[in-house]
Symmetry: C2
Subunit: 412 residues, 2 copies
Amino acid sequence: MGIVVQKFGGTSVGSVERIRKVADTVTRTADQGHQVVVVVSAMGKSTDELVDLAFQISERPAPREMDMLLTTGEQVTIALLTMALQERGYKARSMTGWQAGIQTDPVHGKALVKKVDTKPITESLERGEIVVVAGFQGISADGQITTLGRGGSDTTAVTLAAALHADYCEIYTDVTGVYTADPRVVPLARKIDEISYEEMLELAHLGAGVLHPRSVEGALLHQVHLVVRSSFVDEPGTWVKEADMMETELNVRGIAHDLKVARIKVLGLPNRENTLTRLFACLADAHINVDMIVQSEHDHEHIDVAFSVDEGEGEEARQVLQAAKENLGFAKILSESGLAKVSAVGVGMMTRPGVAAKMFATLSEAGIRIKMVSTSEIKISCVVEREDALEAVQRLHHAFGLDAKELAEVAQ
Amino acid sequence: MGIVVQKFGGTSVGSVERIRKVADTVTRTADQGHQVVVVVSAMGKSTDELVDLAFQISERPAPREMDMLLTTGEQVTIALLTMALQERGYKARSMTGWQAGIQTDPVHGKALVKKVDTKPITESLERGEIVVVAGFQGISADGQITTLGRGGSDTTAVTLAAALHADYCEIYTDVTGVYTADPRVVPLARKIDEISYEEMLELAHLGAGVLHPRSVEGALLHQVHLVVRSSFVDEPGTWVKEADMMETELNVRGIAHDLKVARIKVLGLPNRENTLTRLFACLADAHINVDMIVQSEHDHEHIDVAFSVDEGEGEEARQVLQAAKENLGFAKILSESGLAKVSAVGVGMMTRPGVAAKMFATLSEAGIRIKMVSTSEIKISCVVEREDALEAVQRLHHAFGLDAKELAEVAQ
């Protein structure tokens, strides 16, 4: 048997008691004959506490010093979990990011992994040790401690699984897997047994929140088999893998939603080749992420453009464009918040006739107005009023035949 | 002007407020034109909290993992202090032990510094940065994180001062300097302006507690000028330097005491060449530190040996020897706890007649019985009943002319 990478997030290692439970899970895997590499986050809220300390001292702490500060959180966890494993009679060794050979670019706070020197880990595994690696962190070429940004422990796990050619990578979390919709919204949501990388990526981007998009991208790129499962309940989770390895009788894999959406409409832009480029360059320069974009003709010489952004960035987007009004040459800007996005996701969905039609019909029958539409190979997203969003999710879940026969039991 | 090393202990960096005060002290020194290297400990009780966590998980946590765990404490402080310095507009850079080039042997929990690669620090200083180094930690030749053991931050400071050829090394603490006796015991104790390394070493060993003996040894070896001063009150502290650079009109520099002493008497040992060797090898094998040793003849064929140990190790010492009774061939073992040691320390003291006589006379006049005596070039120590110890210190302080004219103001 080969290498298994297991990742445990902050809640899973939130107390001494939970660290002991994690040690039980890890040793069970080792007992099955696997070589185990464990990636852990900081305990519970400890990262938030460190952030608090920093902001008591400085309103704008330097990113290098934030990395120096925050990486201590995972270092505490690796030491404690390794002690717990040793206490059970297993050989184990903790490694910080730099000790585990995780080399990144020098961008503090959101570094990208450039290379993994697998020697320290493989040598440790060959000595029969369980290796416990601090997630979220690495080292730059000039010896600085870096962090991979939020969601970084998932990225560490997937990156190590790829570099070590692991059999699979288990992401332990506080839910039992990926669901056809948020079980808090749709009581009949079902756990998905298998999902493709592309579908998972759409669901991750669309707010399912179980896996960070960056880690799914990494898994897709290196074809790492991912399993999302619960660290509290011992049951099979959701496998994320290549679409061609899966049964695909289903049109729609799941319904996702995002409750914090704002829409900006820019009316009467000059109808020229570079208009869109200039408009979105403006927003990119201000580090505003644009999601859906819809363009329509206003008259022969003018176009209208509408786009959606995260609600927190709506007002800034409006101000940035307002300031560039003369330069961009538009007539008017309208912004609207209090919106939501509802998406149906599934590989091959768009090649089947009627999926989009069914989605629009379902919403229309419920009297829910669609304010924007965007489609890709594997998803259809609609922007609706936020007050309609949860009903939309429930109706779509039912309409696409995703409802379970019984209520889901969601472990917390 | 050259390099100044400043060390701040756990109490001095125990809160965000205190870290800001430390930043004020550091920037004042930088404003005077010095290049400043700061060495800090973990905040307040944070090391104790980490130790607690470890012992909740394991009764005997592996030293390697303890080092992994505990070194996070200083790493938090260096990041926060560096932020505070940057907040004041100064260029500053934090460094962990391994980043600062502090190379140690591989003995986890009590590593010895083998070498300092000064390049990272000197390059940083040359860029005009204040360098903030995590005390108490280093890296072994095979890349493991090590700690220097208790008192290790002082050792880091002195080691860096020596390696960087610093002008001097300031040890900031919660007292205003080294005193002629513990001011809590002797209200008329005076702050000592200058003291020799050797005297400080005796005082450190004898329980004065201000400086760790290992750091004084390091300072003596590399002739680093040390200053012990308060991080709360801005006044000159105590300089520790070469004896020949000091005025030496005083016989006795200070009176130290240690309230936790046990005495073991081993009676009727065979009078052979290797008897003492075998007796103390027994204790050394059990890692028991023996302090004073007195040997006397029992009869022509037998000797008696008495020695003092830290009270916490008294019972273990007795058991170790009892178990080796047949092997060592003694007749009887007696142990006594509840004792204390009182010492007069001063360079050149023993070459002046009458110092020992005055000590014995002073104690005898007060009706204090001396149970053991030990002397060196620069000290005389007497073991007495613990209940007599504080009176002994007060009387000796007065008898040797150390009393101040006014009550000492001891900043806490």
